[in-house]
Symmetry: C2
Subunit: 361 residues, 2 copies
């Protein structure tokens, strides 16, 4: 848990840049080592202003307010950070968590679905959440109306985790404030956003990667085509999580998304055993980084020279290129290319697109 | 089409024994050759009475009545017998068909499901039948209330085939007599049962093998666990037909069977294209016998000797054994063993269990 102001400030300074932080942690072998290297790296990358860096005063205020609200700040790479979430490509550098933190290291199943769910969908989500809770899984979801809320409510007595799209003091939807408070006894609320952050529409899809990232598997109960639940399912696939879907009538538009997932190979769920049978064997396995995860590299034996840096920067432009291509075309080692990219990234000049693609901003 | 009394009588004489007739047709290379060998074979097998043989007078009456009703009698192995049905293990020796016989050689999709179907199930069956009809498939089903009736009705304008569990003059359920009459214009009614035969409960599962046997693929729209539709699905699998199922809510007991089929690997259907995409490539392929089909053998070069026959019979008992084991243990050729089995079968002393298993009655 983060209580050291300097440490906290450094992490804040990187937000929102989870991919960059991830690359740093991999590169330097841990959050503290990465942060120690940070100021120098950012300067070399050509950082010209504090645009992405919060001030020391802001950091102080945030840390004090968080503590007052009973919020713990968990840093990527530290032992109390949720283990499965740590393995995703764009794990948040800092996770603000409130409630019973032990819940975050239970095996979790995500149950997500439509806000305008049918009565049958709500009833099924409740039954599934209750039975998976009794089987020892914490239920993670997004605190939304409909399926999410039903899943949380039915797992209050066991353990349930809600991932917020805004800050801890900006519960959305407001009518779920009581539910959010109730789940703290045996579960937790988590957010990657600072206090006071009001969630916008685009923050919800981004938040969904944390719901799937925390879980071993994701169950989609009712989902229309092009719904947020399908975004969660896509993240789950990218992160190597198991994807489950609950079937519905082809004439019910709320089932179109989940039926579509079934056609694409999601596991069909009509009872908790369908989920448990798939997940039990996985729980016994060591937690592995997801497929897209870049390999951890030892710290570079030397720093990039000015010529090397210039050559690599000249190969970059607004069109995304792969890091592999940069290594090949620059003639530099992969370690040197990665260091230059980190420098650029910290200076706010690089965009990471996932899949090893980068471009200059 | 069968119009020859002697021929018809011989086939009648074998009913109900489709596996036996199948073995005869395979053994002698055609229905006519098999029938010519029949009286002698039956005598050698130890036939003691006419228990399974209808009288000449009965045959005459049946043929006359059938002709009067516009019924055509199609014999297994003859050119006008439906080609896919011909390939199943227990194809009926004789098929009584009424209506537009050309419909029986269109590619067919079976649509079957619950009698107490939901409004949504009915609507979906109608939509699917109409769209598959427009795509050139005849729709085959069981004329039952609910899904079956909906599928027939929606494909009246294209082509629909109903398989009866009783005789042509015993339409069941009676309120579907109008539907049965209406489908004759562009489709057909078929039955393996003689005129006047009142269907009993156990005739419906038996009839279901013809629904799947006529079709390239079977779509189960709504089916409870342990329902007749699941029997059709099982036949379809045994016959190497494609199995499709329409998903439904896990809380709807009418979807339990179809969801169960999906878990077992049936193709999920939410629109006609899901069926067409799977079946189109199959239609281009030559029609192959199903996996269980015994190989066609040339007529035996010699008849079995009395010693050989006695040895083979002594190896048989009430416990089913495989024909392969009989060949191995008797030391006789496969052709000789098959001939002895046919003799016993025609004498009413053999039971064929499928999967190459036989026992003495």
């Amino acid at each position: 848990m983060v209580t050291d102001l300097w440490y906290f400030w450094c992490i804040c300074a990187l937000m929102p840049g989870p991919r960059t932080f991830r690359a740093l942690v991999n590169h330097y072998g841990g959050a503290r080592a990465a942060l120690a290297a940070l100021p120098d790296l950012a300067r070399r990358g050509g950082a010209t202003g504090p645009a992405r860096i919060c001030t020391r005063e802001e950091a102080e205020r945030e840390l004090k307010a968080a503590t007052a609200l009973g919020i713990s700040l968990l840093a990527l790479g530290e032992p109390d950070y949720p283990r499965r979430l740590q393995m995703i490509d764009d794990a948040p550098p800092l996770l603000a968590a409130r409630g019973k933190l032990a819940a975050l290291n239970l095996p979790m199943v995500a149950i997500v679905g439509a806000r305008n769910a049918s009565a049958a969908g709500i009833r099924f989500a409740e039954r599934l959440a209750r039975e998976l809770g009794e089987a020892g899984f914490a239920i993670v979801s997004g605190l939304a109306r409909g399926i999410d809320g039903a899943a949380h409510r039915a797992s209050l007595a066991t353990s349930t985790v809600a991932v917020l799209a805004g800050g801890h003091d900006r519960i959305y939807p407001p009518e779920h404030a009581d539910l959010a408070a109730a789940l703290l006894d045996d579960g937790a609320l988590v957010s990657e956003m600072p206090l006071g952050y009001e969630p916008r529409a685009r923050d919800f899809p981004r938040r969904n990667r944390l719901i799937s990232g925390l879980a071993v598997g994701v169950v989609i109960v009712e989902a229309a085509t092009r719904s947020g639940s399908l975004i969660t399912a896509r993240f789950a696939l990218e992160q190597g999580r198991e994807v489950f879907a609950v079937p519905g009538s082809p004439l019910d538009p709320r089932a179109a998304g989940s039926n579509g997932l079934l056609k694409q190979g999601a596991t069909l769920v009509t009872e908790a055993a369908d989920v448990i049978d798939v997940l039990r064997p996985i729980l016994g396995q060591p937690i592995e980084p997801s497929a897209e995860e870049p390999e951890a590299a030892p710290p570079p034996s030397r720093e990039p020279g000015a010529d090397e840096r210039a050559r690599i920067v000249s190969l970059l432009g607004p069109t995304p290129v792969t890091i592999d291509d940069l290594v090949r075309l620059s003639g530099s080692s992969a370690a040197i290319v990665r260091t230059v990219l980190l420098e650029l990234d910290l200076a706010g000049r690089l965009e990471r697109h996932g899949g090893g693609l980068v471009s200059l901003l």
